[in-house]
Structure formats: C-alpha cells, structure tokens
C-alpha cells in the first residue's frame, strides 16, 4: 500500500514538475545572430543586431509593420497641417524603463542629436530635410521640414532616448534607458545580450518574458547550434546549404519571404571605359543572373528585373534591365567599335585591349563566386576581366567609396522606401553616389518621388526613374535578396516575421 502511495505521489509529482518548468521556460527565447551589437544607442546603430536589439529596448514615435506601414507606437496620432509640417501627439502617461516620464523634450533631444553633424549619426542623411523640431507642449512634437519629404514616417521608428538619463551621465550605448517592450539585464560583449520584459511599456509587457540574443559569427555554426537545440530562432544571413536542410526539417517552422535588400553591380560611370551607357549595357548582358541566383545562392534570392523591389508599392513588372546574352554582349561591343582585330581572343579598339576589373569583398563567399563566374563569362566574350577581392573595410572605404572601382558587386539593405535605394545613391552629388552617375531627368524624378505626398504620384515618378536607370545602368540589380527565419516548434508565441528581421514579432507583440 505504501509502495503504491509512494509511486502514485512520484508520478503525480513528476507529471506536475515538467509542466511548471515548461511554462517558465516557454516564455524565454534564445535568438542566434551573426554580429555583436556595436552600440545600444538607437541614434548610432550601424549593425543589424544593434538595430534589432535597440528596437526592443526603445520605442519610436511610430513602428513599422511587416508590410512597412508606419503605425503609432509612442505617438498616439499625427497630422500634417501642411506638406512641410508634421505634428505628433504622444500617448499620455508614457514612462521610460527607469520610471521617469517620457515627454516631447525627449523626442526633441533624440532627433536634434541625430541631425547634429558633430554627433556622427550614421543615417543622419535620412533626416537632413528636418529643419526644426519643437516641443509644443509635453505631449506634442512638431517637425518642420525644409521641403516636403514623403519617406519621413518610415524613418521615425528610431528609438527615443531619455534626455534626463543622458544628461545625468548615462551612456545609452552601454547603459540604455528606453521605453520599449524589453529592458537590458546583461550584455556580455561578443557573447550574448540578455533582455527581460518591460512591464512599464505602454502596450503592456510582451508575452515572452526573457530574450537572449546569442552571437555566433559563423553562419553554418549558427545553423548547427540551432539544430542542436541551443538556439530557438535563427534568421538571415544563412548559408544556402543550411537553408535547404532546415527547410526540410519538420522540427522547425520557417518564414521564407522577400527581403529588403538587393545585390547589385555598381558601375563607375566616371571611368572612361564605362562612361557610355552602351558599354554598361554590354557588360550587364554578361551577368548570368540565373546561375548566380539559382546555382550560387541556390534560389534563396530572386532574379531582379529593375531597381524597385517587387514587394514595393512602386514596383512595375514592365521595367526590364538587359538580360543575359553572351552573343548580344559581343554584338553590342562590336557595335561600339570593340573587335578582336589581332585574333588573340580579346576585343580591342584603337590598339587598346578591352580590360576591366571586377571587384567585391571577401567576407561573402557567394559574392566572390558570382564575381568569378562573371569574370569567366566576360573572358568568353573577349573581355580581359580581372578580379580584385579584398576585405570589407578595404573594399568599401578605400576603394568603392572613393570611386576607384570599375565594376563592383555589393548590396544595399533595409530598403523600407524606394527613396532609400535611389536618392542618395543615384541623384547628382548624392552622398552614396560612388559611381558618379548624373542625369538631370532622374534627379528631377527622384526629387519628385521624395517630395510628393501622394503615393500614386510617387510610384509614377519612381517607375519613370527606374525605366531610365534600366537602360542607363549606373546600377545593374542582380537579385532581390530573400529573407529566411527558422524557429523551433512549438514556439511560445505566434511568430510574426518582418523582412527587416526585427525581434518584436518573436515576443508576442501584435504587429
């Protein structure tokens, strides 16, 4: 009898124990990421981990949904009395995680520092049309713009920092005080970032109570750690081989969708060889998008046809860049006077051989492979193509950004608005116009696109610009990057992935 009683008690205890443990554990998630955050100051974030973690610790005036629509976050609502003014009304009773009130002064403080040249905010250029920010009253903030600026709302999800905390000597980079859904509990540099739910968030504490962001630099190692059960979530960047394997594994859920990035060819139009759009068209015909996307990237990206992302409201399927054709490229070169007159297999003109340098950075083996494939194809078409591969800092800061390249393969991320991939990059004198492209008509259309507040008019302007760019080709867009997210099943909350890779959709917050 005693034995039976003991056994029954043990079974009941064992049955009850895991349930309690599971309940406690289920509300904690571990997310794998590729780089450590450089800072937790939302005004200075540069890397994806910093950006995504800051998005949990801080809250912005607005929040961008998975569909990139700006919805109220700290701001309850907003209005535009004229195209150059936006007035935000903050929710009442907002507080930072340290209990201090969040007011219009904090919003003014945050954005004034972002647009201050001495503060060195990496994305200051996005906010340059803001000429004045004023606190009308503790709950009202007024933004005055130097010109109408349609993409502004997409950029106002930047986290608001506490003016009082900063003035008291707290460094938001390492000791953040925000008003977001989570608060920082520990940051072991290079290892992990530990966060817990913030009960004082205006929307209430999120369902997931604990988030650990674990840093594993190597993509394959991160995927293996996920398979071994050490991580609950991993997302792009991932190796194409790992994506295929994880997709087939029924233990995991996945979200595979279009991302917000492009992989593209940057032509230096200031280079005499590439100044003629005809030459750029011929070179573009030697880029085998199909092999790059389907063989090298194993189908995780999509073949691009124009500079506008297919997921964008401005996209038009009618705009087409040149497509792969070695014969077409050779014919184009011949038409431009490049012929193999000395039968050495290399095209020449006026005694000069057709020589060009292709470049990319060494960190992404798929990009290196894409450049090598293009080199082989160019050689088969009679172009003496050389390849230059260096690490990212050498390639970006000492080469492409100084306009020393000829044909460079690189990418842009986080294109939340067409303006983000066009204005700085391709308008005359744009801050990131490294190839020196200049076309007054494109300039006019890009200005129209950013200043019109009517989305249909904006779409028309961007489509017209994209049509010109598809034939002028300062950029040749190879692929629209895909976004992949894998999560363990069962997951404690419903997963709501966003192509920006933000973590809010993983903690039970309704997007």
């Amino acid at each position: 009898m005693n034995k039976l009683l003991l056994l029954t008690t043990a079974i009941v205890a064992l049955g009850a124990m895991p349930a309690t443990v599971t309940l406690a554990q289920d509300k904690a998630i571990v997310i794998g990421t590729d780089v450590d955050a450089g800072t937790l100051d939302p005004r200075l974030t540069r890397d994806t981990t910093a950006y995504r973690t800051a998005d949990l610790i801080y809250a912005g005036l607005v929040h961008l949904t998975a569909k990139l629509e700006a919805v109220p976050d700290l701001a309850e609502n907003w209005e535009s009395p004229d195209p150059q003014t936006v007035i935000f009304k903050l929710r009442s009773g907002l507080t930072f995680s340290d209990g201090s009130p969040l007011t219009a002064d904090d919003v003014v403080f945050t954005y004034e520092s972002v647009i201050n040249p001495d503060f060195n905010a990496p994305d200051r250029a996005l906010y340059s049309p803001i000429s004045k920010i004023e606190a009308v009253d503790p709950q009202t903030v007024k933004f005055t713009l130097s010109a109408p600026y349609a993409p502004l709302l997409s950029y106002l999800d930047k986290g608001i920092v506490s003016k009082a905390a900063v003035e008291a000597g707290k460094d938001p980079a390492t000791d953040p005080v925000g008003a977001g859904p989570m608060v920082l509990t520990a940051w072991n540099r290079g290892s992990d970032i530990v966060l817990k739910a913030n009960p004082s968030y205006w929307g209430g504490a999120p369902e997931v109570t604990d988030v650990t962001v674990k840093i594993i630099g190597d993509n394959s190692a991160r995927a293996q750690a996920f398979e071994a059960g050490d991580l609950d979530v991993i997302q792009s960047p991932l190796s194409p081989n790992d994506i295929e394997r994880l997709k087939a594994d029924t233990r995991f859920g996945n979200v595979i969708t279009a991302g917000l990035g492009v992989t593209y060819i940057n032509y230096n139009v200031k280079d005499p060889l590439l100044a003629d759009p005809g030459m750029r068209q011929a070179f573009s015909m030697l880029i085998d998008q199909n092999s790059i996307v389907n063989d090298i990237y194993q189908g995780v990206d999509e073949i691009a046809s124009s500079i506008i992302l297919p997921s964008s409201w401005a996209y038009s399927a009618d705009i087409k860049q040149p497509t792969f054709s070695v014969e077409g490229a050779v014919a184009k070169f011949n038409e431009l006077g490049w012929k193999d007159t000395d039968a050495d297999g290399i095209l020449d003109k006026d005694g000069k051989k057709l020589t060009v340098t292709l470049s990319t950075h060494s960190e992404d083996p798929n990009r290196v492979q894409s450049v090598e494939l293009t080199q082989a194809l160019m050689q088969s078409a009679g172009v003496d193509a050389q390849v230059q591969i260096t690490d990212w800092p050498s390639f970006s800061t000492n080469y492409v950004q100084k306009g020393l390249h000829q044909i460079a393969l690189l990418g842009w991320l986080n294109i939340v608005d067409p303006d983000r991939l066009l204005f700085g990059q391709l308008s005359t004198g744009g801050s990131t116009n490294w190839g020196g492209y200049s076309n007054p008509e494109v300039d006019k259309l890009l200005q129209e696109g950013r200043s019109s507040l009517d989305q249909a008019a904006r779409a028309t302007a961007y489509q017209k610009a994209a049509t010109i760019l598809a034939s002028d080709l300062p950029y040749f867009i190879i692929s629209d990057q895909g976004y992949q997210l894998f999560y363990k099943q069962p997951f404690p909350v419903e997963v709501q992935a966003t192509p920006r890779g933000n973590f809010r959709g993983l903690i039970g917050m309704d997007e």
Binding site: N120, G190, A221, P393, S431
Partner: protein, 326 residues
C-alpha cells in the same frame, strides 16, 4: 635564477615596444578607414572627415604613435573606436575565457599527444603505430575551422551529447561551486569547453605525438634503458619512469611554443563555438579596423606568449639539471 627571471622580464619591454611599432606600421599599410567603417556606407565624406578629425586619425603617424606610447606609460591602452569602452576593460573581460580555452586545449593536446606518441613508439611498426601516425597526419592537416564544425555536427547536432555553443561558468568559479556542493556547475563548464578545446587541441596533439614518438624511439635505444631492463625492471616502469621522462625534455619547449599557436587558433575556434574570448574580439577588431583594440590585443597576446615561454624555460631547468639558466 631570480636574476635570470628579472632579466627576462626586463627584456619584455623592448619586445613590447618592437611589437607595438610593427603592429602600428602594419595597420598604417593596411587599407580601410575606421571612421568610414564606423559611420557606415550612408555617411557623407564630410561626416567621415569630421570623425577622422575627432578620432585623431588625421594626425601624422609619429604623433599618433607617440601619443599611444604616452598613454601606455600611464597604463592606458586607449579606447575602442567601435565599442566606446576602454580597451583594457574590453580585453580584461575576455582574456580569462581565452586563457581557459588555451590551457584546457594545451592539457588535452599534451595528454593525447604524449599517450599516442608513447603508444606508437613502444609498438613501433605495429598497426597501433600506423593508426596513430595516420591520426597525427589528419590532425596536422585538418583545418581547425572544419574540424570544429565536424565535431559540432557529430557531438552536438547528431548525438546531442554536448552543447554546440557558448561557455559555462568560468572554470575557477565552477571549481569553487563544485567544492561548495554544486558539482553540476563544474560539469556544465566541462561540457561546454570540451568541443572547442578538442578542436583547438587536435593540431597540437598531432605535432606532440609525432615528436614524442621520435624522441621516445631515440631514448629507448639508449644504454640506460637497456641497463634498466637488465636490472629486471618491468616494461611499463622502464617506459614511463626512465624513457618517457627523458623523452619529454625536447617536447617541453615545443609545448611552450604550441601555446602561441593555440592562441592564434582560438580566433577561429571561438568564432565557431561562440566562445566569448579574445579570438572573437580579434576578428571583429580587425574587420572593423578598430586600431586601438587591435594594438591592445596584439600586445596582450605577445605578452602572454612571452610569459608562457619564460615559464617553460624555467620548467626546463627544473626538469633537466644539466640546463643552467643565465
């Protein structure tokens, strides 16, 4: 002995100065602007120029080098450009993890290397000898990066015996916890360190095993070994007490040098196993061109390496009475 130690320690100063100058020169030659990396691709040339001025990157090289030495004299390694924290604080927070990993890897390498080397030598020409040397060949030629992924795939993903990533409690803390009745803390730390340490140890174990084998074969042919057998001593005693002791002398100096290789290998191993040490930090500092941090890390690695070799030299004198230090 003490005079020798002091002299060796004093020699560290010119070595450190040389190291700093060489690293500084290399960093001057390597292309890549930390200000531009820090500000990201969307920064304008004016912003980059502004930050370069703030960071002092526009000053002539001799001013920057002089300023660095001046800081060092005041015990300051400078501030990391990217992590907005003092370099000494960043390195201090991670050095323990790397030393722990390197020491455990060195212990594993020595244990595996000596055991396999002795086995191969006493069974020269047998299947054991061939298998051991084949294993050593694999260990020498297999890249640490690949081996790390394979070990993770086998023991963490497939067998699920060991954690794939991360570190348990630091070993000293774990040992204290175990002594105060919480052995699971130490067990967790051991489970976490096994895979990275094994991946890191493989190459050194292979080299040590080859060296031990050669050294043992030489010693086993010496007259004193024959005498030991003639005295009627049993084989295990002769091998361990007489032959191995003598065979280990040349191995000892190699073990010291391997520590340097282990510190270098830790860069890749830490990347794969998310081990929060100096290796991962080195990788990110180099890829970001975080000049003060790179300088600090190189200096730290150089000093550790020099100190380990000093300890090895001292041990050498202790183990072999014929060696006189001075």
């Amino acid at each position: 002995m003490l005079a020798y130690v002091i002299r060796r320690l004093l020699l560290l100063i010119p070595m450190a100065v040389g190291m700093i100058v060489v690293t500084f020169g290399l960093l001057l030659l390597v292309p890549g602007d930390p200000a531009a990396v820090l500000l990201g691709p969307e920064a304008s040339p004016e912003m980059i120029a502004n930050l370069r001025r703030t960071l002092g990157l526009d000053d002539p090289w001799y001013i920057r080098l002089g300023a660095y030495f001046w800081q060092l004299l005041h015990g300051d390694l400078g501030r990391s450009i990217f992590q907005s924290a003092p370099v000494s604080e960043i390195i201090g927070g991670r050095i323990g993890a790397t030393i722990e990993l390197a020491v455990v890897a060195l212990l594993l390498a020595t244990l595996i290397g000596v055991t396999l080397g002795v086995l191969a030598a006493v069974r020269q020409g047998s299947l054991i000898d061939t298998a051991t040397m084949l294993l050593a060949q694999l260990g020498v030629s297999m890249p640490v990066y690949w081996l790390g992924l394979l070990l993770m795939l086998a023991f963490a993903v497939q067998l699920n015996w060991l954690p794939a990533i991360g570190r348990g409690a630091p070993m000293p803390e774990a040992i204290i916890a175990a002594l105060s009745g919480r052995p699971q803390v130490l067990w967790d730390s051991i489970l976490h360190i096994l895979l990275p340490a094994l991946a890191l140890a493989a190459n050194s174990a292979a080299i040590i095993s080859r060296l031990v084998r050669t050294s043992m074969l030489e010693v086993l042919r010496e007259d004193f070994v024959r005498t030991a057998y003639a005295k009627g001593l049993r084989r295990p005693r002769v091998v361990v007490r007489h032959a191995l002791r003598n065979a280990l002398l040349p191995v000892l100096s190699v073990i010291g040098l391997r520590f340097g290789a282990l510190l270098g290998g830790a860069v890749l191993v830490e990347m794969i196993f998310a081990w929060p040490g100096l290796g991962q930090l080195t990788f990110s500092a180099v890829s970001q061109r975080d000049l003060p941090l790179i300088q600090g890390i190189v200096l730290t690695f150089a000093l550790i390496f020099a100190l380990v070799n000093l300890v090895v030299d001292l041990l050498y004198a202790l183990v072999d009475p014929r060696v006189r230090l001075g």
